[in-house]
């Protein structure tokens, strides 16, 4: 269930694939039209020194003229020379905060004498437009779709919210310092999975958006928005933008044979080394747009007449996360880092048929000590190439 209910029964809409150009001056008309179509808009906005996702009421809520500089463990907002609306890379938030909220009440049970009743949680499925979704983020949403609605058990809350999303993608016009979507095959170009895709073009006095229609609901919100048809030059500029971004990736990750490489190096000395630096703080997993681990918690009131069941983000970096009746399975930090990375980059293939990493770089930027999974893969690869012990056995 890759794209739940985005296409009607009649197949793709005739407008799908249509490209047109929206002038910068008319951008607010697009926002107005999205709202008129019944969507609330969430998207990028500057808050507390970063570009995060939040409600977009007006064009001025967007990070106009802002960009970010990212390195391992560092993020800084900076002013741009131009007035770009989307001239930044992905920040600390991801769209999972909407689709898979960090805390969610699942239901409430009431004691009724010797029995009990359950109140289902009303679905929060207000139609919502996600504005500014990047290629890696489209790929991340697709991965979480597979986790939450793609198997036999469908998560009803996620499914309800996902169905009502209007996904407005933006092509990255620059790569961030920790980006490596090219290595992961997820970007920088958004090619499908969107309702609308925008490419921002700023050249001299020209400031426009190439708008590509990806679905019928995308086509519908464009009705009444002043557009001109795109010509060959507009399309060429879009392609050039994406190419330029692809050539300026901040990082690379060699995926060649990675499944067997990592799972064959469970005793690699690098796990101990990275474990000396890792804080087991969970920031990487919280920031990662594909990490889906959570725990459920019963919250009874004092006389236990009512019990709420809550779900909250949890992490394989927590001691309690692997606690069984005899205690935690992963007591050491190296074992937790290894669990995270081997799942993300290797055993995810066995479980879901793809890598669990889309190359967004968030875990690198938002790690307080700047641990870089691309560097960790390189270290393990070079240890393997050098036949560095103690890799034999691969237990653990």
């Amino acid at each position: 269930m890759d794209r739940p209910a985005l296409q009607g029964p009649g197949g793709p809409h005739p407008d799908v694939g249509r490209r047109s150009v929206l002038g910068r001056a008319d951008f607010s008309r697009l926002l107005a039209s999205i709202r008129t179509a019944g969507y609330r808009i969430v998207g990028p906005t500057v808050r507390d020194g970063a570009i995060v996702y939040g409600p977009i009421e007006a064009e001025s809520d967007l990070p106009v003229g802002w960009t970010d500089r990212q390195e391992a463990g560092t993020y800084r907002l900076e002013r741009r020379a131009d007035g770009a609306l989307f001239g930044y890379n992905v920040g600390p938030h991801s769209w999972k905060k909407y689709l898979f909220p960090s805390r969610e009440r699942l239901f409430t049970a009431h004691r009724k004498g010797a029995s009990f009743s359950i109140d289902a949680e009303p679905a929060d499925d207000a139609p919502t437009a996600y504005l500014g979704v990047r290629a890696c983020e489209v790929a991340a949403i697709r991965i979480q779709d597979r986790v939450f609605v793609g198997g036999a058990a469908v998560d009803p809350g996620y499914a309800a919210r996902r169905r009502r999303v209007l996904l407005i993608a933006v092509q990255c016009a620059q790569a961030g310092g920790t980006c490596f979507c090219v290595s992961m095959g997820t970007g920088p170009g958004v090619t499908d999975g969107f309702d609308l895709a925008l490419t921002e073009r700023i050249e001299g006095d020209r400031h426009e958006f190439l708008v590509e229609v990806g679905s019928e609901r995308g086509a519908q919100v464009l009705v009444g928005v002043p557009l001109r048809p795109a010509d060959a030059d507009d399309v060429a500029a879009m392609v050039a933008t994406v190419d330029r971004t692809a050539r300026s990736m901040g990082r690379t990750l060699d995926q060649n044979g990675i499944h067997d490489l990592l799972l064959g190096r469970l005793d690699d000395p690098e796990w101990e080394k990275v474990g000396e630096r890792c804080l087991a703080c969970t920031n990487c997993t919280m920031a990662c747009p594909t990490c889906f681990c959570h725990s459920t918690e019963e919250v009874p009131n004092l006389d236990a007449s009512q019990v709420e069941r809550w779900r909250r983000w949890d992490s394989c970096f927590n001691l309690g996360f692997s606690e069984l009746h005899t205690g935690s399975v992963r007591t050491t930090i190296p074992s937790r880092y290894r669990q995270w990375m081997t799942h993300k980059l290797a055993s995810w293939f066995d479980q879901f048929g793809s890598s669990g990493c889309v190359g967004c770089g968030r875990c690198i930027t938002w790690c307080p000590v700047g641990i870089d999974l691309t560097a960790e893969v390189r270290a393990i690869r070079s240890n393997a190439a050098a036949g560095r012990p103690p890799a034999a056995g691969g237990s653990g």
Binding site: R47, D48, G49, A50, V52, G73, T74, Y75, R76, L77, P92, H93, K97, S102, R103, E276, R277, C278, L279, A280, C281, T282, N283, M286, A287, E297, E298, V299, P300, N301, L302, D303, A304, R312, W313, D314, S315, N318, L319, G320, T331, I333, T365, W366, C367, P368, V369
Partner: protein, 262 residues
């Protein structure tokens, strides 16, 4: 709890500021439910009525800092079926455990006109250093939601759900932008236990470590990073030495930071 009589609650104070007991008073609405469900047999902050033991559940605030207290806690323990310590003082010795790193006799001479009247121990210590404790609720002050959870859990005969993860997980769950990464502000969140809801980073401050060390605190790695962020060794030692100075991982981290005292 199958007993027909209401469980009896005792609230006890040792060396502390009363802030944690006040968290219980602060639960006004919930407290009504508590009062109906349990008999509050000893709670000096709420009532002057004192009922003798035994107690089904004792909440103990404060650290042991005098010989008299060291005796009294044994009496409280003997009178209590379950004993839960609340707050940084009771669980780690509190801010007053800073004396552990100095010379108490000297302090006594400097501070008091008649030092011979002051009977005090050389160290301020956690309740668990003196008597067996059934559960330790961290925080300076404790979080009232966690306090209610602990009381509910004991009334219901189950283990309290009080995660020992880092503050960072709460910080990220609430969507706060990390002050370390985005501003270079020092923060103790990665080595500190969750529970406060990551309040300080939400107001652009680093975490002060009020809830003590998380379950797997990598203070060595974090101190290295704090150095990179520009903190001097003496500043690093000092940030570990606050409300939970005597909690072992923080005590060792402060000792490991080379002293740069002027």
């Amino acid at each position: 709890m199958a007993s027909t009589t209401r469980p009896r609650l005792g609230v006890w104070k040792f060396a502390s500021c009363d802030g944690c007991q006040l968290s219980l008073l602060d639960c006004e609405d919930e407290l009504l439910a508590v009062a109906g469900r349990i008999e509050i047999a000893n709670f000096a902050e709420a009532t002057s009525a004192f009922a003798p033991g035994p107690y089904d559940l004792s909440l103990v605030e404060g650290s042991i800092s005098t010989p008299h207290d060291a005796e009294r806690i044994r009496e409280v323990r003997a009178q209590s079926r379950r004993l839960v310590t609340i707050g940084a003082c009771a669980t780690s010795g509190g801010i007053q455990a800073l004396r552990n790193f100095g010379n108490v006799d000297e302090f006594r001479r400097i501070v008091y006109a008649r030092p011979e009247y002051i009977e005090t121990l050389a160290r301020s210590t956690a309740i668990a250093d003196h008597v067996p404790v059934d559960f330790e609720l961290r925080g300076c002050p404790i979080n009232k939601r966690q306090l209610l959870e602990v009381i509910a859990a004991f009334l219901q005969g189950r283990r309290p759900t009080v995660p020992t993860d880092s503050v960072c997980i709460e910080c990220k769950r609430r969507g706060t932008v990390c002050v370390v990464v985005a501003r270079g502000t020092p923060c103790l969140g990665p080595v500190t236990q969750a529970g406060c809801g990551a309040i300080c980073p939400a107001y652009d401050r680093g975490c002060y470590g009020c809830f003590g060390p998380q379950d797997t605190p990598n203070t060595a790695a974090w101190s290295r990073r704090l150095r990179e962020l520009g903190m001097r060794p003496d500043e690093i030692a000092r940030i570990y030495r606050t409300f939970n100075a005597a909690a072992k991982p923080f005590r060792l981290a402060a000792e490991a930071a080379p002293s740069g005292d002027p």
